[in-house]
């Protein structure tokens, strides 16, 4: 319980001092023009690709388990 309180206090203090991070000239906040456009393209690409990969693996697994093994037997 004590650890949780300490964690909560530290988190609140950290949040109180949070501000935009501008770490280098390539940072998002400093960009404009074609660099910013390419940032958006890159962000979209890197955000969607994992979902596509997980979806593809899911489809592959679905196909694998559903392939024609259902056998109709005349009772």
């Amino acid at each position: 319980m004590r650890k949780r309180r300490i964690f909560a206090v530290v988190s609140l203090v950290a949040l109180a001092f949070a501000w935009d991070a501008v770490a280098c000239p390539n940072c998002f906040g400093e960009l404009e023009g074609p660099v910013l456009r390419n940032y958006y393209i890159s962000l979209s690409f890197l955000s969607l690709l994992p979902l596509t990969i997980i979806g593809a693996i899911g489809l592959w697994a679905r196909r694998h388990f559903r392939q024609p093994t259902d056998t109709d037997l005349d009772g």
Binding site: N26, G33, L46, P50, I54, T71
Partner: protein
């Protein structure tokens, strides 16, 4: 009329491992592609005026060799799955085409280094050697896997019922082939 549903067994561990590995590899390639997309407009003129141009024509020939290698890889997997015939010659065909691809790339790299394009000469050079080199490393690893698979095939270790090694090796090869055109267009043509 009664329907009996028979569930298929789970995919073997090696197949699942390869699928997870290729997913991770895809994200690594995606990271490199993103780095290329983001860094490129920061340089103004691309390629930089003081850097050599990449030999797109020569690499196009290498690309044809790599794309052609997908066919013997496909035939290798199909042949052994159909009747257990040793797929040695198809695997060797794939290996030879891969070696031609790597050979052309090696020659191209020596020429480019001679003209002053190195990892440290510019962002252009660093991106080129990182992106293309990472793919070349994959081709080299795939060729090592092919060499082992050829050895096992010659020893008669594969049958129609048990040919996981050939299947996984060819899937990995196809992956290497499929990734390449994107990199070629991005790095050499755009």
């Amino acid at each position: 009329m009664e329907t009996v549903a028979i569930r298929r067994a789970a995919p073997d561990r090696s197949t699942l491992g390869l699928v997870i590995f290729l997913a991770a590899e895809s994200m690594t390639f995606a990271g490199l592609i993103s780095a290329h997309i983001i860094l490129r407009p920061t340089q103004g003129v691309w390629p930089p005026l003081d850097q050599p141009r990449l030999p797109a024509g020569m690499t196009a020939v290498a690309t044809l060799f790599l794309l052609a290698s997908a066919w013997p890889a496909y035939k290798a997997a199909k042949t052994v799955a159909a009747d257990g015939t040793a797929p040695t010659r198809w695997l060797v065909g794939t290996w030879v085409l891969g070696a031609l691809f790597l050979g052309i790339q090696g020659y191209e790299w020596t020429q480019l280094v001679g003209h002053g394009l190195t990892m440290t000469s510019s962002i252009y050079g660093a991106l080129f050697y990182t992106v293309i080199g990472f793919h070349a490393l994959h081709v080299a690893v795939a060729m090592c896997a092919l060499t082992i698979t050829v050895g096992k095939s010659m020893a008669g270790r594969y049958s129609a019922a048990d040919h996981t090694g050939v299947r996984l090796c060819t899937v990995y090869w196809w992956y290497v082939v499929v990734v390449w055109p994107t990199l070629y267009v991005l790095v050499y043509l755009m």
